[in-house]
């Protein structure tokens, strides 16, 4: 495995700036998740690192060496896509073995056999090795496509929303599985998603992209608790952080124009009067929609709260985040 670093990398497609002066290091053995909405530059970053595209400017280093002259094959990276395309006429075993049969690798047969059964074991698809790829469920197909990346020992795994086409239950199983595999192999993974739960639960580092700029890079906890801007704060957390005019609550610093309050950072009892607009019992907790001086606010409370629509309560902020007129954290 390897350390990958980007130095002042920029990339445009015509007039559209896809990546704007990005500098970032993917440490050896880390699980880095790039997070951002469509068009933020996530997939462009993957394509540049894999060598499918060349940056307009800047440098990409693989283990300290400039990768500019290396072809995608020489960079030795494995990619997993959202749309798993398996070879439909081949069995699971043949699909898994396929990358090892590349003429560049010249892997001996017994080595192929060993690798395939090892990976099948890790992914818990050993019993399906002789099935045709088309006889698998969606989750099994995605596991095979991940397995096809795992049989090689690449420098880096690049994953582009590999779980987004699966149903919720399978997604949560595979999240744990992927993380476990990455940790046990000591693999370096660069993973692209717009699913904040995947970012929070799997990443060792999260890179937040906004219109091609890397606005924050750090552990999920750092970005959740200590975001640099309203944009970064809004990337993690569900329900989203509440952003309100700063003057609603007393005690805002001078330059603050907005206050950011995570739904769980709202204390009941004293402070500003608010009206309960709607109560949603989600089972493990209750989501409450409040109206505070004309603004909407969502907060979470106990599953068996007695609050109901039309009640009036008083609230005060706990651990508020303040932002200036440009949305930058104060």
């Amino acid at each position: 495995m390897a350390e990958i670093s980007l130095h002042n990398v920029s990339m445009s497609y015509g007039d559209h700036v896809a990546l704007d002066d990005v500098t970032m290091t993917v440490p050896d053995g880390s699980f880095v998740v790039l997070l951002g909405p469509t068009g933020a530059g996530k997939t462009t970053t993957l394509r540049l690192i894999s060598g499918l595209d060349k940056p307009d400017s800047g440098q990409i280093m693989i283990d300290g060496q400039d990768a500019a002259r290396q072809t995608p094959a020489q960079r030795n990276m494995a990619m997993v896509f959202q749309q798993y395309s398996l070879y439909p006429h081949l069995s699971v075993r043949q699909n898994l073995a396929f990358p090892l049969k590349s003429p560049m690798l010249r892997t001996p047969e017994d080595e192929i056999e060993r690798k395939v059964s090892e990976v099948a074991e890790i992914l818990q698809i050993s019993h399906k090795l002789d099935n045709k790829a088309t006889e698998l469920s969606g989750g099994e197909m995605q596991r095979v496509s991940i397995g096809r990346a795992l049989v090689r020992s690449p420098q880096l795994y690049l994953m582009d929303e590999p779980l987004s086409s699966l149903d919720a239950k399978l997604r949560s199983d595979l999240r744990i599985e992927l993380k476990r595999i990455q940790a046990s192999l000591g693999a370096t993974v660069l993973y692209v998603t717009h699913d904040q739960v995947e970012a929070m639960t799997m990443a060792t580092h999260v890179g937040v992209l906004d219109h091609g700029k890397l606005v924050q890079f750090g552990s999920p906890r750092e970005i959740y608790e200590d975001p640099v801007s309203i944009y970064a704060a809004s990337r993690l957390g569900s329900p989203k952080i509440n952003i309100l005019p700063a003057e609603i609550f007393p005690g805002a610093p001078d330059k603050a124009t907005s206050i950011g309050l995570r739904p769980e950072h709202i204390r009941f009892g004293e402070g500003v009067k608010v009206d309960v607009m709607r109560v949603e019992h989600l089972g493990d907790q209750t989501r409450i929609h409040l109206n505070i001086a004309g603004s909407r606010l969502i907060t979470l409370t106990d599953a068996h709260t007695s609050l109901s629509k039309g009640d009036s309560i008083a609230i005060s902020p706990q651990d508020p985040l303040y932002f200036d007129a440009n949305g930058i954290r104060i």
Binding site: A168, I176, T201, R262, E280, D284, R287
Partner: protein
């Protein structure tokens, strides 16, 4: 608006029974969810209420009138599909007015009614636009507009938000619920998304393989599932179901898992053999003194809470604990459960055993 009563409703397609014997009541003004996995019969049930399918047997009452064999057009309901089709050659106004034109309503009245609906939906500015260039959300609003413009007795919706992405879906579900509230409407809504059902619904019917598994208020279904299926289907992560072999007598208030006794709500039903101990992830805690032990296999950070996956003698278990609590992979932990929340199930019948705690929810039949 209307009260809808479903009585012993059944639908066969050849040899296949899509709906077996459904009975439930949708009260006037309710936002009512038909929830279940694909193939459970929820859409067939909705289509029978609409009159798009005729039931094989059973009755449907809308406002006291038996309509099960009546045509859709005679039932005065509006249907919103997942793949809502707008008339592409008409503008927004024409799309929304179309159902009224079909009813031969006078033109001035149509205009006033469409304006009113557009205002409710916040699309006044779009009335003259062709539907081709609209965003997904606006198309959805137009489709809703076409449904509400007739002032029907009930709205039937088949996964209307299914095609939208997560963030937008959240937004539209709030909008839809607010719309329902402002119109004092009766809405029947089909979904396979348990969170959507919990969030939007006043009541839920959980269906599986054509049968009603449970019917009630979302929080009660979550707290006191009637069957193993419901326990597993509702909640994310779902209820932990720890398999054990044992026997329970009436009046018991403890049960042993492995070496450890756990307090449980007083049982009102005896059972023995393969049983299941059901506990929600947020009711699991760690206690060094417990003899019931497990090994941490994964931790998932979620901001304020984290999900801990633990391998135990009775299977994999998930706990939801504060994010600040330090837990590491491979660590061995003693486990404890919030005794007042436990449900026991009979594995062979798949149903919950009656206890002092759940009888209020399950006893009504």
């Amino acid at each position: 608006m209307a009260q809808i009563i479903i009585k012993n409703l059944r639908k066969d397609f050849g040899d296949f029974t899509a709906v077996q014997a459904s009975s439930f009541i949708i009260e006037h003004g309710e936002f009512f969810m038909l929830l279940g996995p694909s193939g459970c019969g929820k859409t067939t049930t909705l289509r029978m209420i609409a009159g798009l399918e005729l039931p094989t047997s059973g009755e449907i009452y809308i406002d006291g009138e038996e309509v099960s064999q009546k045509r859709a057009s005679e039932r005065d309901i509006a249907f919103v599909f997942q793949m809502f089709a707008l008339y592409p050659h008409m503008n927004v106004q024409q799309n929304i007015s179309y159902p009224l034109k079909c009813q031969k309503m006078p033109r001035a009245k149509i205009k006033a009614r469409v304006a009113e609906v557009a205002k409710i939906l916040g699309i006044e500015g779009l009335l003259k636009k062709p539907v081709g260039g609209l965003s997904g959300g606006d198309r959805q609003r137009v489709a809703l507009g076409r449904a509400i413009v007739r002032n029907p007795k009930a709205f039937l919706m088949d996964e209307p938000l299914g095609a939208l992405d997560a963030e937008f879906r959240e937004h539209m579900s709030e909008e839809l619920r607010a719309l329902h509230d402002s119109m004092d409407a009766t809405t029947v809504y089909v979904t396979h998304d348990q969170l959507e059902a919990m969030q939007m619904g006043d009541k839920i019917v959980v269906m599986n393989h054509g049968t009603v598994e449970q019917f009630g208020v979302p929080q009660q279904i979550y707290d006191w599932p009637a069957t193993l299926f419901v326990a597993d289907f509702i909640g994310s992560p779902s209820m932990n179901l720890l398999r054990f072999n044992g026997s329970i007598s009436e009046g018991d208030s403890t049960v042993s898992l492995g070496e450890q006794d756990f307090a449980i709500p007083t049982q009102l039903e005896a059972a023995s053999g393969d049983l299941v101990f059901g506990v929600r992830p947020e009711h699991v805690s760690f206690n060094e003194n417990s003899a019931y032990r497990g090994t941490v296999t994964a931790t998932e950070y979620l901001g304020t809470t984290q999900i801990i996956t633990i391998s135990t003698p009775s299977g994999v278990l998930k706990a939801r604990v504060p994010a600040a609590q330090l837990v590491t992979v491979d660590e061995e932990l003693g486990l404890d459960f919030d005794s007042s929340t436990i449900t026991l199930f009979n594995e062979s019948t798949g149903t919950a055993l009656l206890s002092e705690a759940n009888k209020g929810v399950l006893d009504h039949g």
